[in-house]
């Protein structure tokens, strides 16, 4: 057996959906945030896999795009966590089920 592209693709799909599952089913906002991270990383895996198995690896599109994704994801985490903290200050909770109002109660 040799490794082919679809191994990586299916693995990425599995990881993506695990992330999705977390985002859908957890109550804690922080967990939802890191579920999103899992999804982003799964996408990165796809980029790299396509790059490696693609036709023009010397253009380095895959790694470059992944780098950008990582940078954006870092920004996203920072802002996301700051929002979680702000929400926590406000509601005294990060439970997504209790965050169902847009204004102060």
């Amino acid at each position: 057996m040799t490794l082919a592209l679809h191994h990586y693709l299916i693995l990425a799909a599995v990881l993506f959906c695990i992330g999705l599952l977390g985002a859908f089913s957890r109550r804690n906002a922080v967990v939802v945030l890191f579920s999103v991270e899992i999804m982003l990383n799964a996408a990165n895996l796809n980029f790299i896999a396509f790059w490696r198995f693609g036709t023009n690896p010397e253009l380095l599109h895959g790694p470059l795009f992944t780098l950008f994704t990582i940078a954006v994801a870092a920004a996203e985490v920072a802002v996301g966590l700051a929002l979680v903290i702000a929400v926590y200050r406000h509601f005294r909770s990060v439970d997504l089920e209790s965050l169902d109002t847009l204004k102060e109660e």
Binding site: L15, L21, G22, V30, N44, W51, L64, A78
Partner: protein, 178 residues
Amino acid sequence: MNEVTAFWILAAISVIGALVAVRKRNLVHGVFALLVFFAGLAGLFLLLLAEFIAVVQILVYAGAVGILILFAIMLTDRVTGKDAFRVTSRGSFWGAIIALAVFLVILLPTIREIPLIENATPKDMIVEQSSVKELGTKLIEPYIVTIEVLALLLTAALIGAVTAAQGGRASEKGENTE
């Protein structure tokens, strides 16, 4: 131990890490599972010869993001890191079903294309081609604007995060008295 074995081991590590991360009740354990997932993914990147990406993965995710999330947990939840009584949200069953549906939607075209992509073999790359140096040159040459924009984005995100997390001055004072 060849490439295939390595792939399966790393895949198992990442999948288990991710699963534990999203299912574990204890948040801090969850974060560490997430870090295991990141590490597994970094291994996969190494396997795909994207060495620099693997390093950045460890540096950014395992180093920075992990710590950031840990800090957020410490600042929000109780220090024990225990999640609320019920871990999953209402109707998480449907969430799982939809996640499964998404999986199928992603999977089906992939499987359909397998005959097409099976023959795509990785080219024998000279190490030079994926070297850090080459990557750096590429970043400067055609992608300089992107880099600058990213720098701007990160700065903005930093400022925004600080502002958002800090909250109003007044509320902060109120916070401290508690």
